[in-house]
Symmetry: C2
Subunit: 504 residues, 2 copies
């Protein structure tokens, strides 16, 4: 007990210090003036080193051993907390500080170079640095794998998504690849006249109007807690900071209101999870944290795709759009639904429709897995990207790497094995929504969405996911909520229902 109590104190301390890492990150993307960057980078590096030192001190390993000896005396929530403490300590101890510093330096440099190379469509200038990133990540993967017998990519994947493995993921993607390309073709064929038949909304739309619309949806529909958050402009929309103070951001473009709107709703989905996550009496403890990036994405995509893109939501949204943007020919329920559900091959993942989106993710997963496992080198990436893009989406990226392998920041930022979270989210959101529809009744759910009164859906999300924090492991969590582990069948059924049968 004594050892466990001391570990809890340590985690409170880590929680309190990480508060500043999060604040420093949020501020950097929203408020910080350009000349503040060096001081911020130095400050973040200093505090990160201290946090790591505290977390990996030799005493911590001893305390964990002691606590494990008497874990059966602990309450269930504390046992789960201890399990997470062990997992996080292992992760923190796998990498030496030297590698972390090396990675921080390389990724800072790489991100600056990446911005330039993407802007100039200059993949040749990028590839040597990509190879350095790959080499470093292979090293990280080997260190994380240790003596476990895992492959480097498998180890990285498990670090990001506890419980997930390459074997599981390959099976999921094999399933998806067996039906998605055909489904995609069919939807494209069905929609071939939609683009011409829909009425674009009048542009430009002012920032003030887009933000007011976003704020109203966050408040009225998603019950975002403004006492514990903010909503500011950022170059890329994100939500986060700390769970006691979850800040949202928006990115807006005068010509594309859906991008700002759907990104806001997506981030609100994340924010609701954070604002309500875990047993609050254990605030600051690992068990009170979000389960994983993949589970996080189930919440954002449930908001964005299951609710906001549905036909029923167009009924709620259309009068609201009239209120904020003024009456105009495009503001009919049917036209708003068409805009939200338009399917059209896109070079850019973040602008892709939800049918094609998983193909973008599979492409990246396959490439990064093969890079880390060693069957691919950086120099192969433009070619392989183009081949897969042609195969999966019918699009060519040869000579336009800015629309191809240069489009994402992830690898430049040293974020590997992160793309699979988007698929876990896409499947999980559909799977959770199916369970919610079953439990509440299909008509009730549709009526909730049609009227914007989604409280019963939010209550189910709370019960199924938010309240549980890290009490359960991922598979257990999904089984408890939906009766089964992650199953791509639900994504297929959702897409067929919405895009082939037009029932959603």
């Amino acid at each position: 007990m004594q050892a466990y109590e001391e570990l809890k104190q340590l985690h409170l301390q880590l929680h309190n210090l990480r508060h500043f890492l999060a604040l420093g990150g949020w501020d950097m993307q929203t408020m910080m003036p350009p000349k503040g960057a060096t001081a911020r980078a130095n400050a973040l590096a200093e505090l990160e080193a201290h946090v790591r030192q505290l977390h990996t001190a030799p005493r911590v390993a001893l305390l964990l051993k002691e606590a494990l000896l008497v874990k059966d005396e602990l309450a269930e929530v504390d046992r789960a907390n201890l399990r997470e403490m062990v997992r996080l300590h292992e992760l923190a101890s796998q990498l030496p500080e030297e590698l972390l510093r090396r990675k921080a330096r390389l990724t800072t440099l790489a991100q600056q170079l990446w911005v330039k190379c993407r802007a100039e469509n200059d993949v040749a200038a990028w590839l040597p640095t990509l190879q350095e990133l790959v080499d470093l990540e292979r090293e990280e993967g080997r260190l994380r794998a240790g003596t476990s017998g895992k492959s480097p990519y498998d180890a990285l994947l498990g670090a990001n998504e506890p419980g997930m493995t390459v074997a599981k993921l390959d099976a999921i993607y094999a399933d998806i690849k067996s039906w998605l390309p055909a489904l995609y073709k069919e939807v494209l064929e069905n929609q071939k006249d939609v683009d011409a038949s829909l009425t674009e909304l009048q542009t430009p739309i002012s920032k003030e109007k887009q933000i007011a619309l976003g704020r109203q949806l966050m408040t009225d529909v998603w019950r975002y807690d403004w006492g514990a958050g903010r909503y500011d402009e950022a170059p890329h929309p994100f939500g986060g900071m700390v769970k006691e103070d979850v800040r949202m951001t928006y990115y807006w473009s005068p010509d594309n209101y859906t991008k700002c709107l759907l990104a806001t709703i997506h981030e609100t989905g994340h924010a609701k999870y954070e604002q309500n996550c875990g047993p609050r009496e254990l605030l600051g403890q690992p068990v009170c944290e979000a389960r994983s990036g993949g589970i996080h994405e189930t919440q954002s995509l449930l908001a964005e795709r299951m609710i906001a893109k549905s036909a029923a939501f167009a009924e709620y949204l259309t009068p609201l759009l009239k209120l904020h943007l003024g009456a105009q020919p495009g503001l009919t329920v049917e036209n708003v639904r068409k805009i939200n559900q338009l399917v059209k091959p896109s070079y850019i993942r973040t602008l892709a429709d939800e049918v094609g989106y998983s193909l973008h993710v599979i492409l990246r997963y396959e490439i990064e897995r093969d890079l880390i496992e060693g069957s691919l080198e950086a120099v192969d990436v433009p070619r392989v990207w183009n081949e897969k893009m042609k195969e999966y989406m019918g699009l060519e990226t040869l000579g336009r790497d800015d629309l191809g392998c240069l489009q994402d920041i992830h690898w430049a930022a040293g974020y590997w094995a992160g793309f699979p979270a988007y698929t876990i989210g896409a499947i999980g959101a559909a799977q959770l929504m199916a369970a919610i529809r079953q439990q509440l009744g299909d008509d009730v759910v549709t009526q909730c969405i049609r009227t914007g009164h989604i409280d019963p859906i939010l209550a189910k999300q709370k019960e199924m996911i938010w309240d549980l924090g890290c009490l359960l492991e991922t598979d257990e969590l999904l089984i408890k909520a939906t009766g089964e582990p992650l199953n791509p069948r639900h994504l297929r059924e959702h897409l067929e229902r919405r895009y082939l049968r037009k029932e959603d």
Copy 2:
């Protein structure tokens, strides 16, 4: 050398970690939603404890001893740096962590209570807590005095204003008290018709207009570096954060444009000092820090009082006001000067004119000195405040403690021996401006201010104060810049020149 180099590393580390204390404080007053307060307080406490631990580790004292042994081998700037390292280490070591935590708890509670008591004009409910604060501060003073033979208040004063003592301050205040009350009466007599003769500006004035005016003055006149700062709303105007990223704030009222304007200019004076302070190659080292609160105030008051309130500045300001607020009868040069130079007894220090301001400060200094030295107790404060207010300003505060001893946050926040900085600033600003006028020529300075092209004045400030950081001790700094240590004669001459002879 080795020891000194290690100390430099330590100070870089402290600088990097204090970055987050500063960011946490700035964010708390500008951005943080209310429910984020507890998490922020916990995070600040955790990081402060760590910073203190690093700074007072036993090894630091040993390193300082070693470095002092070979200090003659150091360059001048490094010797000054080492001198500041010793001073800061002494200050940090004087108080046990237990007292700091006790003070943090008490002042958090006290500030909440103070807000309530001031709003309800309930001094009786406030006095027991004030006594607790006094008791704690007596303890802090005794600990800081140690075996030095200093009195507790003297020790607190020296901690805030290196080199300043009660003896020096008493002499300065005796001087001021020998002429200011009579001067004040004479100015009031001279101005008795001004209030009726001046034309108030039309209100309300929108926030946007006030902010645009502030931004333009910061940019065009003071050359504020926007690449290294921001300008946001806060409940009380302040400037600060970290020297690499100096953020300004504004408070605005629709009915009082001068308050927002002059506060912005005042804070810009502080910000310019921070943005340019010390030898930058020693960034992060104590020698690169601002000299003291008092010297900081010389820079803010030079901007606010010496420049912005002068008759010459009214010539620059009037057309600018027309541009931002629209033409109106009050916008003549003479009327703008009258508004800026209006002298009128005020209960509230922060709203006081510059002639009476020092009397407000003397009152507080005398009361807090006597409280800490033990000749006064909290229960005496309302009575003594009223007596002094009547004597110095001819105003009664009996029964209106919200306009009296409840008006300032300083004591509630545990900030004692801080008021004298305002007098050091008032005298020092006049003294520096007299030196600048002598060096550049009176006509040149007036012409600079009249046209808003104050670059030659800023260059003098840079040379006299900013560049030097903590290279010199306070008296040396003032002697180097002006030929003499702090001399209240300059405040008197400034006030007589402006308010009796109407030459400024």
